[in-house]
């Protein structure tokens, strides 16, 4: 009894991955081995289901395949020990698998998410493990998305699991206090997946997995699990309001088109409406966090039909709020841009001077890029060219460098 494989099946399969993993990990009390077994079950499903159809009980199918892998592994482990020690197994019985399907917890996916984004992990290992264990992606897909060999990615995931084991993170829902404490790390990992996907979707990487869409899917799932948290909603809104501009941000030669030059008729209205609705609901709650503020700024841009309609005083007010809620040199920099749009470029340049003494940003290309832009607005082309070139030498982003050297060349040739 099967259903044919269609476009929704892949999503279904990926959404099932964390539920299956939690059930198997809980039963066998070994997260690391269970995670490997579920990965094998996922690969088996991806090979068999498109040809043979989706089983009636897909979750049961995956749990069964993964449990069988676990059982096989435990058996061979016992056999190995028997050979080595020539002692009979001390009545070590295999966990029963029949009722494993009943062993579900509605918070399973959440447990996994907090585990995979644990602050003990480096961002790159947390990202890899989250995509595999919570996102249901294969190692090959993740490796491909980050342009590293599959073996390297497999090692990264396996080390991440060792770290979790080593730091003794229990397989249970963190306490409300731990959740509050660790939620920023979870949201940061989701945000990093999104921004990596956003950056890597430029260029001829058509075969690569769409990490931005994966991040949106995972954040959407997280939002249903933490419905009351305004920052989760804020992050999802930020992703949607940014992703809405996807079609407009690259030109025919894959060159970057900055926000003020984009064809706004290409923006995705449905994503914008959804993002604004989410944000409005989130902002009505008590605490205003960084993601909500970023989403609010994205919303102001998205609401302007023409670039000259942009409500810069609103954006300036939002950056002022952000300077109080979460001060950082990058916020000061963006605040200066908004101030320049409201009060003129001289005001912006004046505010930027405060950053020259800040070692966190003083030699960052963004400072020079913004300065170049403001000098150009002042009509000081010589200074603008100088700073465009300094910025171009300092950036490690190829599209950005192309953009900056082109700006310098345009002014030099004018």
């Amino acid at each position: 009894m099967t259903k044919p494989w269609d476009k929704t099946s892949e999503h279904l399969l990926r959404d099932l991955a964390p539920q299956v993993l939690s059930a198997v990990a809980r039963r066998f009390r070994d997260f690391s081995a269970a995670e490997d077994a579920v990965q094998e079950a996922m690969i088996a499903a991806f090979t068999q289901w498109p040809e043979e159809g989706v089983p009636d009980n897909p979750r049961g199918w995956l749990i069964q395949v993964a449990s069988r892998r676990m059982t096989d592994q435990i058996r061979s482990e016992i056999a190995r020990r028997e050979r080595e020690t020539a002692v009979a197994a001390e009545g070590k019985s295999l966990p029963p698998t029949l009722d494993i399907e009943a062993d579900m917890d509605p918070d399973d996916t959440l447990i996994l998410l907090f585990m995979c984004c644990h602050p003990a992990l480096t961002p790159s290992s947390a990202i890899a493990l989250t995509l595999r264990a919570v996102g249901g992606l294969t190692t090959a897909e993740i490796a491909n998305a980050f342009l590293v060999p599959e073996a390297t990615m497999a090692q990264r995931i396996s080390r991440a699991k060792q770290t979790i084991k080593g730091s003794g993170v229990p397989f249970r829902l963190p306490s409300p206090h731990e959740r509050t404490e660790h939620l920023p790390a979870v949201l940061h990992v989701l945000y990093l997946i999104f921004s990596e996907g956003y950056a890597s979707s430029i260029g001829s990487h058509l075969q690569r997995l769409d990490l931005a869409r994966e991040a949106i899917r995972l954040t959407r799932n997280t939002k249903t699990l933490l419905a009351d948290n305004p920052e989760v909603a804020g992050l999802l809104a930020l992703m949607l309001l940014t992703d809405a501009r996807r079609a407009a941000r690259t030109g025919p030669n894959e060159e970057l088109i900055p926000l003020d030059k984009q064809d706004r008729t290409l923006w995705d209205r449905a994503e914008i409406s959804e993002g604004i609705a989410l944000l409005t609901a989130a902002l009505s709650k008590a605490s205003v966090g960084l993601y909500q503020l970023q989403a609010a700024i994205a919303a102001v841009h998205d609401e302007a039909e023409r670039v000259e309609d942009t409500e810069w005083p609103q954006i300036l007010a939002l950056y002022e709020l952000m300077k109080r809620v979460a001060p950082s040199p990058m916020v000061t920099l963006n605040h200066a841009i908004a101030a320049a749009m409201v009060h003129g470029p001289a005001k912006g340049l004046e505010l930027l001077r405060a950053l020259d003494k800040d070692p966190r940003i003083a030699s960052h290309y963004r400072l020079d890029a913004v300065r170049a832009h403001l000098f150009e607005k002042m009509g000081d082309h010589e200074a603008a060219i100088k700073h465009y070139r300094i910025a171009a030498a300092r950036t490690t982003s190829l599209p950005e460098r192309n953009y900056l050297i082109t700006q310098a060349a345009r002014l030099a040739g004018a």
Binding site: T152, R156, A199, S201, N334, T396
Partner: protein
């Protein structure tokens, strides 16, 4: 973030180091061990050793676009002997790996302390640009 670690050591005509066998073996074992370590840490993107400079040619396009090859001049000071591309969490980590490669054992087992050039590999656009 990805970095390339370039080992610029060999000079033309001095390609094959005339070290005692034992020292050569420990040098080679060290390099293999370093690659293994980077694979296991989940950081290695690729590592390649290049041929000795004797095999190198300088190529330019001729008038008709056809390749015109030239030998490599012995006065060229430095040659790329090999490189690693690593994907690491910070520039500091890339420098640690480079320092390790730099201290590969040479004659008598003493660390070579050769210069390793570390440069970031260009990436896609940063989020603030989008």
């Amino acid at each position: 973030m990805k970095y390339i670690l370039m080992m610029n050591t060999m000079r033309a005509g001095h390609g094959v180091p005339a070290w005692p066998q034992k020292d050569l073996q420990s040098h080679i074992a060290f390099m293999m061990g370093l690659n293994k370590e980077l694979r296991e840490s989940g950081e290695l993107v690729s590592a390649e050793g290049l041929s000795f400079p004797d095999q190198a040619k300088l190529v330019r396009a001729g008038k008709d676009g056809a390749p015109v090859t030239d030998g490599v001049f012995p006065e060229s000071k430095e040659f790329l002997a090999g490189y690693w591309i690593v994907d690491v969490d910070s520039p500091e980590r890339a420098y640690v790996i480079a320092a390790k490669a730099s201290a590969a054992p040479g004659p008598g087992g003493a660390p070579l302390n050769m210069p390793i050039e570390v440069r970031p590999i260009m990436s896609g656009p940063p989020p603030e640009m989008l």
